[in-house]
Symmetry: C2
């Protein structure tokens, strides 16, 4: 593993637990097993390191999303797709990986507007695209009543956001079974979007 990667790995841990302002470059260097000066050979400044850390941390999430594009490719798209979407996400949430980085992005998005944008383009937009696909294809074969929600696919991302942040903040106070929660939500949503159930 390159020194640069070791520095990034050390930095993500400390940035996510302490936040930007409270992270000391000395500590990053120590954890990475290099001297402080070495950090500055690879990154121009603390801010540059932070940007690199966020970009680096978003990579596995992007990969996970890309893999999901493959899931059910060519299969019929319907309520089952929605269930599968949440299913594959819930395992990932439980690793804790997306929670830490999401909290960091939320925390620092005021100081670094650029990372909010990166996060949107990397995670939110592809996620919305995936959901819109499910909704559109589901609508075509009459499974979904997509019109209601066509312009608000983020309604289906909302429970993911909640599950991630709940785990991060309230898990000790009131535990939430991520997988069960998302499945209950998927039930509610797919039934709510089902034209069978529409009212006058």
């Amino acid at each position: 593993m390159t020194k640069q990667q070791r520095i990034l790995d050390a930095a993500i841990d400390i940035f996510t637990t302490r936040g930007f302002a409270d992270t000391r470059i000395d500590e990053v260097a120590e954890r990475a097993g290099v001297a402080k000066g070495t950090v500055y050979l690879h990154f121009d400044s603390k801010e540059a390191l932070f940007q690199a850390v966020v970009d680096n941390a978003l990579a596995p999430i992007r990969t996970a999303l890309e893999l999901m594009d493959g899931v059910g490719h060519g299969d019929p798209v319907n309520a089952e797709s929605l269930h599968r979407f949440y299913q594959s996400i819930s395992g990932f949430i439980e690793t804790g990986v997306p929670g830490a980085i999401m909290r960091l992005v939320i925390a620092e998005s005021g100081r670094f507007p650029a990372i909010a944008e990166t996060y949107y383009k990397t995670i939110i937009e592809p996620g919305l695209g995936h959901l819109t696909d499910i909704l559109d294809k589901g609508s075509k074969d009459g499974t979904f009543n997509g019109a209601l929600i066509r312009d608000h696919p983020m309604a289906l991302i909302a429970p993911v956001l909640l599950a991630v942040l709940w785990r991060e903040m309230f898990q000790e106070i009131r535990p939430l079974d991520t997988q069960k929660f998302l499945q209950v939500f998927a039930d509610m949503a797919s039934q709510g979007l089902n034209p069978q159930g529409s009212r006058p």
Copy 2:
């Protein structure tokens, strides 16, 4: 207005924009129009000031929730209640008040676990209670198929969380009409919970 309140008002602005670590007591004092030493006459430390600021900032949100308890009291509880719940929340979200404090709480909940707990007890728990009421009463008169979601009322909080954070982070990148979004969600949810629409 007392000096203590002036200090709190100054501090909430600066804490929410800069976060805990980057907030300087000098700046809080200057904005409050007092000397730095005066801040320490009213608060033992920067941390104590921060705790007080969060408690103080949660007050109007708690008030808004308590007012909502009145809304529809005695009325039939059903899909309309859900719509009214989101309706009264969306106006509040658009003030920007809950967004700033929510971001601060998320950002600092790692360093100050106590504020995550305060937030849960003050905002989340009452909100869940309100929703559980709506669901329970709605179930009794057969309006809702509450069984599915009875143990996961946070499914109905999820869109609120998303709307608040979206406004805080992505409003410039992709605007979201909070009220419309919540109404669409309410449609989906109430229909999804309606026994009329249940499938085999």
